[in-house]
């Protein structure tokens, strides 16, 4: 599906935003300003930008640990800087520095956050999908009308994560009950050092869905147009109560597993070959060759994104750390925990 000129322009901008967001995060992780482990998704921007683009703001998203892109794009513009300051462990962080890179969530944006335990969200997402299914079945307030669509839940998971038993349990239940879930399987080839062909017997992991009668697709995860097309179809099915879809996005992670991993386990030349298929370059080419955008127009877009990102960085650097004693907040909903 070819996107309209304007829509392709918009998602190209989204991808540039993710790329620059991640490059800045990488920079400040390397120089020690950002604490903890950082997992970057450079090279995988199309799968994140495309999924978010194809969904509504009211749909539930469960990003993965490499999901900075999905996180930032899910948040409304005024809160995007808070996503970055969360990664910087700051009080202004969207979770007040409590979670950090791996756990950024924004409930108002229906970004349900990642869980440090791989596979956990793949079953948690049954619940958000179940919610509208249940409300509709019981004709609860706001759901009286039969033509109201279900809210979609999109859960991101890596090729490695598919090894967790939760993925089987989730797909089985979702398929049986026709829950509105889109399983976004980001096949970036590796789980840390292990190539997906070394931990799964299938050549294409999407075939996994067949056992559960879940419609499954493998698409070029670097082609933003292909991503949006397949997710929109899956979302339509889900909204109508026709059940889950499994989509395998073939892509590649350019960096090591975490910022600082030299990724010595990759064969020579593999990264370079994938860089040729950079999702940003592909989209940019289309914008220029098919839609007639000029180099200057694209430069202007890059400059605009740059300014935005520098704004996030400045905000993050200037924000204060949280108060130590606030660490005891929110352990329970209804009671306080004693501090020191």
């Amino acid at each position: 599906m070819a996107l309209t000129k304007d829509r392709l322009w918009k998602v190209y901008r989204d991808m540039v935003l993710i790329r620059r967001f991640e490059e800045e995060v990488e920079k400040y992780a390397q120089n020690g300003t950002i604490p903890g482990f950082i997992h970057l998704s450079i090279g995988q921007e199309a799968a994140q930008a495309g999924v978010v683009e194809a969904l509504k703001q009211t749909d539930y998203k469960f990003p993965d640990h490499r999901g900075h892109g999905a996180i930032v794009l899910s948040s409304p513009e005024e809160r995007r800087k808070n996503c970055m300051s969360e990664i910087f462990a700051k009080e202004t962080g969207i979770n007040h520095g409590r979670g950090g890179s791996m756990h950024v969530n924004d409930l108002d944006a229906r970004n349900m956050g990642f869980n440090g335990i791989q596979g956990s969200t793949v079953v948690t997402c049954l619940g958000t999908a179940f919610d509208s299914y249940y409300r509709k079945a019981n004709k609860m307030e706001g759901w009286e009308s039969d033509d109201r669509d279900l809210d979609v839940t999109a859960v991101f998971m890596g090729d490695g994560t598919l090894g967790e038993g939760t993925c089987h349990e989730s797909m089985n239940m979702a398929a049986t009950w026709k829950l509105p879930i889109i399983y976004c399987l980001i096949n970036n080839q590796y789980a840390i050092s292990t190539h997906y062909t070394e931990s799964h017997p299938q050549k294409q992991l999407a075939t996994w869905g067949e056992g559960y009668e879940v419609p499954s697709f493998t698409v070029d995860g670097n082609d933003i147009e292909a991503v949006i097309e397949v997710v929109e179809k899956a979302a339509e099915r889900a909204r109508k109560g026709e059940g889950p879809t499994l989509i395998e996005f073939m892509t590649y992670r350019w960096q090591g597993h975490f910022s600082g991993d030299p990724a010595a386990y990759r064969p020579d030349g593999e990264l370079e070959a994938w860089k040729e298929k950079c999702p940003l370059v592909l989209a940019k080419k289309k914008l220029m060759e098919v839609h007639g955008y000029s180099e200057e127009e694209l430069d202007a877009l890059h400059a605009e994104v740059e300014e935005e990102i520098q704004g996030y960085v400045k905000f993050s650097l200037e924000s204060p750390s949280p108060k130590a004693e606030d660490a005891v907040k929110f352990v329970y909903m209804d009671r306080e925990v004693e501090g020191r």
């Binding site: 903890g36 409590r98 950090g100 840390i192 292990t194 750390s321 130590a324 020191r340």
Partner: protein, 325 residues
């Protein structure tokens, strides 16, 4: 011959040497073979024995299940949990299976497995990668939990863990990996179920394990200047605890301070305290004191993580309290 090597190097050496000696020992886990482990602990094993080191899928439950079954057949699996927190994913295999196999087979077979688990806080990885999981497992008869605090102990205890006929959870604190100590080149073991009196003293018994040992040693030095003599006991095997060594020490000093990284409620500090009160109440000169984390999940922001973890000042304060009661 001894020389100084790191905690991670000591574990690696123990694996190499014990695998050399016993061909039924093999390793498995996520990225442990080709890459040599996410923390580099299993380096070189796959190169030496390509059929004794297995990279698995992300499937902790399957990893542990495989270990249990293989152990019943006589193999000695050493599995790695990249972070101890992932015990949650394979809890059933550990708790309902590994821990019960010996009981279930009337002692004819057992789960002779070692689960190496990377534990503890301090690296700003927030609530799913920083927990002290030993209390999650201490209520499970049949399990053994071992916790070295330096490279020397790591090597000897791991060798014993592999040779021990029970399921052993071997805790490796991530902040200890780069610490160095004198370690013999040759293979040696350190008895399990046996606490170590690290330093003798007469006024206070301080029990500490893993990274908390550094607090204990520093506190003992500082308090010595005030004329307070601290005896430091390291349980080494956190479960089952060596009651005798701990109780004997407290009977001598009459005062107990336990320093423990994890949350306070139901931690091993609580168990040690109860044990002492139950057994030698009449010897106690002061109430026992526990210095622990807050009962709070481990947060990400450095100032908050540091705040939640046990504080050194509180160790000193606890000692003064038991001395002036």
């Amino acid at each position: 011959m001894t020389r100084k090597i790191s905690f991670s190097g000591a574990i690696n050496e123990a694996l190499h040497q014990e695998m050399e000696r016993d061909e039924t020992v093999f390793i498995l886990g996520e990225d442990v073979a080709k890459m040599g482990g996410d923390f580099g602990i299993t380096k070189g094993i796959w190169l030496k024995w390509p059929h004794r080191a297995y990279d698995t899928a992300l499937s902790e439950q399957a990893i542990l299940g495989l270990c249990n079954g293989a152990a019943v057949c006589g193999l000695k699996p050493v599995a790695e949990l990249m972070f101890a927190d992932f015990v949650g994913v394979c809890y059933d295999q550990l708790v309902n299976n590994a821990a019960k196999l010996c009981y279930m087979y009337d002692g004819q077979a057992s789960a002779q497995i070692v689960v190496r688990a990377v534990t503890g806080g301090g690296i700003r990885c927030a609530y799913h990668h920083s927990q002290c999981i030993e209390p999650w497992l201490m209520n499970i008869p049949g399990l053994v939990i071992v916790a070295p605090s330096n490279a020397y102990e790591a090597k000897g205890l791991l060798v014993s863990a592999i040779r021990n006929p029970n399921p052993v959870v071997f805790l490796e604190h991530k902040l200890l990996y780069n610490t160095k100590a004198e370690v013999p080149e040759e293979l040696y073991d350190i008895e399990l179920y046996k606490a170590k009196v690290v330093k003798e003293g007469t006024d206070i018994t301080m029990v500490a394990a893993m990274t908390m040992m550094a607090f204990a040693e520093k506190a003992a030095k500082e308090l010595e200047k005030e004329g307070i003599s601290v005896e430091i006991v390291n349980p080494l095997t956190i479960f089952p605890l060596d009651k005798e060594t701990i109780v004997d020490s407290v009977a001598k000093t009459g005062r107990l301070v336990v320093v423990q990284e994890g949350p306070k409620v139901m931690g091993y500090a609580a168990e040690i305290g109860a044990m002492v009160v139950e057994d030698i109440f009449e010897y106690l000169k002061a109430p026992i004191r526990r210095v622990t984390s807050l009962d709070v999940p481990v947060p990400f922001a450095p100032v908050q993580e540091d705040y939640v973890l046990p504080q050194y000042d509180e160790v000193i304060k606890a000692c003064h309290e038991v001395m002036t009661f």
